[in-house]
């Protein structure tokens, strides 16, 4: 589970432009991760077991973890990073995989992507690191605990693909998989007492340098002002059709 800026946040860049300005940001759980957590909770309600939340990031991530615990996760592991560590998706996946290995698993659920950097790689890379089958962009999931297999529907462009895989596996969640529950007040209060195990990044012994480095960040150029067509409706319509064809290339 990743903590990301609320999508309504106005993004500003830090001087040097390799990171965004994090002051004043409202942080939330990555929405796709909420689908993943909700699915885990439903599976637990159906089959029993335990839902363990694994999150990675600085101390502020604790709030997202508490939120996840308030939704119903049983306990959590927080891989605590600091500003000095330079991360990329590969390193993050290595760290998460290591925690998963320590904790044990029947199924690993992640969001299909994080809405901040949109890389969509962490789930798949965790699967690679653990040598597990992966099923991505899942909109429906059924588990058969007896045969230890899963059946999933994946959303493709204009089609649904149905796949099967043995457990354990990694599944990444797409919108539509479920409707995440509200954290209720009794659960929020209970979450205070649930265990959060903190693992310092340094203790994982991941010395490797990141494979991918951010060179620079820049904000998208300001959108050009809209063109407003006025005058005779018939002429305006003709002009609109011409612009859509010749300038926008959409018809």
């Amino acid at each position: 589970m990743k903590q990301v800026p609320d999508t309504a946040t106005l993004i500003r860049l830090q001087p040097g432009a390799k990171q965004i300005e994090t002051q004043g940001i409202k942080w939330v759980i990555n929405p796709y991760d909420e689908f993943a957590l909700e699915e885990g909770l439903r599976l637990k309600e159906r089959w029993g077991g335990e839902v363990v939340l694994v999150a990675l990031g600085p101390a502020r991530v604790e709030e997202a973890i508490r939120q996840g615990l308030a939704m119903g996760a049983d306990r959590a592991v927080h891989v605590l990073t600091n500003d000095a560590v330079e991360l990329d998706v590969w390193l993050v996946a290595q760290a998460l995989a290591r925690v998963c290995r320590e904790e044990g698993y029947d199924l690993i659920l992640t969001g299909k992507q994080a809405v901040d950097d949109d890389q969509a790689q962490v789930g798949p890379l965790v699967a690679v690191a653990l040598g597990l089958p992966q099923v991505t962009v899942v909109v429906q999931l059924a588990i058969d605990a007896e045969s230890r297999r899963l059946r999933a529907e994946r959303e493709l462009e204009g089609a649904i693909e149905v796949v099967e895989a043995p457990l354990p596996a990694v599944v990444t969640a797409q919108r539509g998989l479920n409707e995440p529950r509200y954290p209720t007040l009794p659960n929020i209060m209970k979450a205070k007492r649930k265990e959060v195990r903190t693992v310092a990044w340094e203790s994982l012994g991941l010395e490797a340098a990141p494979l991918v480095r951010i060179e620079s960040l820049s904000l998208p150029p300001a959108r050009p002002a809209a063109k407003i067509l006025t005058g005779d409706p018939e002429e305006a319509a003709r002009e609109l059709a011409r612009l859509l064809r010749e300038e926008a290339h959409v018809i």
Partner: protein, 386 residues
């Protein structure tokens, strides 16, 4: 520095308080806001939300877990009321009457048996309560009540009428305040299906249209000893319940005002007149700043009230001043929002007029503006001017 929290009070909230506030906000955004205007116009309380609200935990949240509560702080309770009232004052009224008035009366003055029987079910929303203090001829002066509880073998016989009772037609149990043979005010838990008890909904309201308000008739209603709240002797008992509910109103009104402010600001930025957004005119900017200024004052009052509550250091004149000033300030904010929205401002397609009409009730119930002025005035001068 956001419009919702200009003075960044968020920093003084605990993570649980923030989470609880956000959980209720999320619920209200999804389940209430899209329908609020229509429900209000139809004069309909969404009773289908009672179960989900119970699950969310908004009924009696400050009570201990053994009674179905969650032992949350007063600030958290207040913030829940704020978020409910952002949706509609009627929704918050429902919760206030259930929690602050009915459940609190049972928790504070009830026997162990009454608490065990009612509170957990009321927390889940399975049993709805109402609180019958006001009468047709006794509002600001509840000591003038005429409802009597005559001692009979094995219990009491209640006779009288109550008016303006929120949840009256929804309730399974009514907390009824009546004078015994000695003229002492006592509290009774009256099942609303008791012979002689009837409720009639008041349908002529131009305010709080999403809330159920009723007249209650008690025609020689007989109840057993087990219906008496053993701890309640005298008018101070119902008044202490009112202090709880007034506390919730001090926070709730912030929600209504915030909703008005947000709506007005958004409107000001997008409504074009004389070729530019009305937000680009000095008069409109003054108006939104005036609204914000009131909202910030309301938020500061409410939060400090909550902190005092949590430290057990709250005095009732403080609650009175906060109820008085926050209800009035919210009313002013709603009125300014209504005005800023022009013709659209009078439509229930927007929230301002609905909040404005609701807040007229909020300004009056739980002690009118004048009555709180007199409470605080007495505390200041030592002179009783009622």
């Amino acid at each position: 520095m956001t419009i919702n929290d200009f003075f960044d009070l968020e920093r003084w909230l605990s993570p649980e308080e923030r989470q609880i506030r956000d959980a209720v906000r999320q619920f209200v955004e999804a389940e209430v806001r899209p329908h609020a205007g229509r429900w209000w116009q139809e004069g309909r309380f969404p009773s289908e939300l009672i179960g989900p609200l119970g699950e969310l935990g908004v009924f009696g949240p400050t009570l201990p877990e053994e009674y179905g509560g969650a032992g949350v702080s007063g600030v958290a309770y207040g913030l829940m009321m704020q978020e409910l009232e952002r949706g509609d004052s009627g929704l918050r009224s429902f919760a206030s009457v259930q929690s602050g008035l009915s459940m609190y009366a049972i928790y504070r003055y009830g026997s162990e048996r009454q608490k065990a029987e009612y509170l957990p079910r009321m927390a889940r929303g399975e049993v709805i309560g109402c609180f019958g203090l006001t009468e047709p001829d006794a509002g600001s002066d509840p000591g003038a009540m005429r409802t009597v509880a005559h001692k009979v073998a094995g219990g009491y016989r209640l006779h009288g009428a109550k008016r303006w009772i929120t949840n009256g037609n929804l309730a399974q149990v009514a907390v009824i305040w009546a004078k015994d043979d000695e003229g002492v005010v006592r509290g009774f838990l009256v099942p609303t299906n008791a012979p002689g008890f009837s409720a009639r909904e008041i349908h002529t309201k131009a305010s709080m249209r999403m809330s159920v308000t009723s007249e209650l008739y008690l025609d020689q209603v007989e109840v057993g000893e087990e219906a008496v709240l053993p701890g309640a002797h005298g008018l101070s008992a119902p008044l202490s319940c009112l202090t709880q509910a007034r506390f919730g109103i001090a926070f709730g009104t912030v929600g209504a005002a915030l909703d008005c402010l947000e709506e007005a600001l958004e409107y000001a930025k997008t409504r074009i007149a004389f070729g530019r957004p009305i937000a680009a005119t000095q008069l409109v900017q003054e108006r939104v700043v005036d609204m914000l200024s009131r909202v910030v004052a309301m938020q500061l009052r409410a939060l400090q009230l909550g902190r005092l509550y949590d430290q057990g250091a709250l005095h009732y004149p403080q609650v009175s001043l906060a109820k008085r000033d926050n209800a009035r300030a919210a009313l002013e904010v709603a009125r300014m929002a209504r005005e800023l929205l022009g013709g659209n401002g009078i439509s229930v397609d927007y929230a301002a007029m609905r909040h404005l009409a609701n807040l007229e009730t909020v300004d009056t119930y739980e002690g009118t503006y004048e009555i709180h002025t007199l409470i605080v005035g007495r505390a200041l001068t030592g002179e009783n001017a009622f």
